[in-house]
């Protein structure tokens, strides 16, 4: 994100405690839960790793393509014509995408888009049309939490929903998930419990005041020669949603305590997880020398939950 965009978005920090986020999203909470020290050195202060594996951004191209597709379809443009419009634009956006992996390639993404549209040609899950006539795709929400920040107003929970659909009289928010893994029960188990899904369901219920039944995961398996697709419901009872809310507020209070004391503690158990934390090389050094290593690996690129993506 460039400085101009940063200036346009409101600040995510509290006025009275500039190191404390007032607007939170799943990315921020997840980093905080993983390790307070990691959180503070990255999202908390606006830094991100310089090098990120390309596959972490691969899904965003699919999301963008489907957003454009849904918008064109609402304008009664045919599926074939919509694809003809979108595919070249996707390839332009992916112009500099490094193909370091045989799975995460431009060709495979284009195939995934075309096959997805083909798979759900007569999709029974229809995009919800909002009262302003616009399709409910790529919607950002900001909902107040039941705890107040040091500024005196509520903390905010923010999120970005791919699409809201209606199916058989019920409303679901959907999330596209691209993966190279098989779309089996084991894959879908990761979504319950899952803070992101619970947060989306809460945000959709409160932000849009609709009786959302739950979430629908739209799984897209990426393989070298083919794609597979599967849909799975993620349901939450009111108790589960309340539990998620209590949990989220608890973690924000932990961040508040850390920000007020200026002490962000390390969770050494996270250092080796998921192939190794991006901060591990920095944290392995003595605290007084860490800044020397930090600047080589991280650059200023703030993450702001209040950005409209």
């Amino acid at each position: 994100m460039n400085n101009q965009q940063q200036q346009q978005s409101p600040s995510m920090y509290c006025k009275s405690v500039p190191t404390l986020q007032k607007a939170w999203d799943n990315t921020s909470i997840k980093a905080l839960k993983s390790c307070q020290y990691l959180y503070n050195k990255t999202i908390g202060t606006g830094f991100r790793p310089i090098s990120v594996h390309p596959r972490l951004n691969y899904g965003t191209y699919f999301h963008w393509a489907m957003e454009q597709y849904e918008k064109l379809r609402v304008q009664k443009i045919s599926q074939e014509e919509a694809l003809h419009k979108i595919i070249p634009l996707v390839l332009i956006r992916m112009k500099n995408f490094p193909e370091e992996d045989t799975t995460y390639t431009k060709q495979n993404l284009v195939r995934a888009i075309v096959w997805y549209v083909d798979q759900y040609y007569n999709d029974v899950a229809e995009t919800y049309i909002m009262s302003n006539g616009k399709p409910a795709v790529e919607l950002s929400f900001r909902v107040p939490l039941p705890i107040n920040s040091p500024d005196g107003d509520p903390y905010l929970y923010c999120g970005h929903i791919d699409r809201i659909v209606t199916y058989a009289g019920l409303i679901y928010n959907t999330d596209y998930k691209t993966t190279k893994y098989a779309l089996d029960n084991k894959y879908f188990k990761q979504f319950s419990p899952d803070s992101q899904m619970s947060g989306y369901i809460y945000g959709t219920k409160i932000g849009f005041n609709e009786p959302v039944a739950g979430a629908m995961i739209d799984g897209i398996q990426l393989a070298v020669t083919h794609n597979r697709f599967a849909r799975r419901f993620v349901l939450r009872t009111e108790q589960q949603t309340e539990e998620w809310l209590e949990n989220t507020c608890h973690w924000i209070k932990i961040a508040e305590t850390a920000a007020l004391s200026g002490k962000w503690f390390m969770n050494e158990e996270f250092c080796s997880m998921y192939g190794g934390c991006s901060m591990r090389d920095v944290c392995s050094k003595s605290p007084s020398t860490r800044n020397l290593w930090y600047k080589n690996k991280f650059h200023y690129d703030p993450w702001n939950p209040l950005d409209n993506r």
């Binding site: 798979q119 029974v124 199916y167 058989a168 009289g169 019920l170 799975r232 009111e238 108790q239």
Partner: protein
């Protein structure tokens, strides 16, 4: 630390009744209505009419039996497939109703606000599972086809989610789930190419004896369903009598919260007029477990005594 003497029996029953087809699960509910309980039935089986002959005229005239039939419209194709006609609405309707019971002019409010005299009935778990499977298959574009492995998981999640909702503290009224029986052993019926019998479910030990379970979806749900209920009961024929079994047998795990008090068998009796006897069957079970009558029947208790006292 909590004091065990402060533990109280739950004020409501959350139970499952298993029975073979035709054993009288739906008709057994009549005794509860006749005894003054307020029943709200999610009728997936479309068999509510069978209860009518067993209701007393007073029960029929009262407002104590509410139901909604939840079936999907089906159609046949020229190649012999049975498909859903339109969107499958049975399960989505059930999910809406479980949030707020409003059907046309009838508005019974939020299920979470129903009192302890109400009994929410799901009739049956089997057909609810079928509705859930149809719901996911149509969404996946596989209507009329064999379920894909992903469809089983998806439909089971819906069934599990509904059971969790019924079991949760959010619902404070009584719950009864009617279910057929599925018999499962510890191994598959056919050996594989190496002559080995595979474990058919993670929830069942291999080579375990044939056991009766509630008919949840697939092979995963049946052994899981029972854990959501404090009462697991069985209706069966013993000779010419229909009975409600409350304690386990070698091939069927049953339970009730007061095994020392509740008899192992309760007859599902009829009165001389042929109505379900409010002194027996499920009504007796509720009285023994909860230690009370429904509040609205206390006013008519005297009248009932005069009618049935032989």
């Amino acid at each position: 630390m909590a004091n065990i003497n402060e533990l109280e029996q739950p004020p409501v029953i959350k139970g499952i009744i298993m029975a073979d087809p035709g054993a009288g699960k739906t008709c057994a509910l009549a005794a509860l209505v006749n005894a003054g309980w307020d029943l709200r039935v999610l009728d997936f089986d479309n068999k509510m009419a069978s209860i009518l002959p067993f209701l007393t005229p007073e029960s029929r005239a009262s407002d104590r039996l509410h139901y909604i039939t939840l079936t999907d419209k089906l159609k046949t194709t020229v190649d012999g497939k049975i498909l859903c006609d339109g969107s499958p609405k049975a399960i989505s309707r059930a999910m809406s109703i479980l949030n707020n019971w409003k059907i046309g002019e009838e508005n019974l409010g939020k299920t979470s606000e129903w009192n302890e005299d109400c009994i929410l009935v799901m009739d049956t778990l089997t057909f609810m599972g079928n509705a859930a499977m149809r719901y996911v298959k149509v969404l996946a574009g596989r209507d009329g086809q064999r379920p894909h492995p992903a469809d089983w998981g998806n439909a089971q999640d819906i069934q599990r989610g509904l059971l969790e909702l019924l079991f949760s503290d959010a619902i404070k009224c009584n719950i009864l789930v009617l279910s057929h029986i599925v018999y499962m052993g510890g191994r598959s019926s056919e050996p594989d190419n190496e002559g080995k019998y595979k474990k058919i479910s993670d929830n069942i030990e291999p080579n375990s004896a044939l056991t009766a379970y509630p008919s949840g979806l697939g092979r995963v749900m049946p052994p899981e369903v029972g854990r959501y209920f404090d009462s697991m009961l069985n209706i069966r024929m013993v000779g010419s009598r229909r009975v409600l079994r409350t304690s386990s047998e070698p091939y069927m795990t049953l339970r009730n919260p007061k095994p020392a008090t509740v008899p192992k068998e309760i007859s599902l009796k009829l009165t001389q007029e042929g109505y379900a006897d409010p002194e027996g069957g499920l009504a007796k079970y509720f009285r023994l477990i909860l230690g009370r009558e429904p509040r609205q029947s206390q006013a008519m208790a005297e009248g009932r005594t005069e009618r049935y006292n032989s």
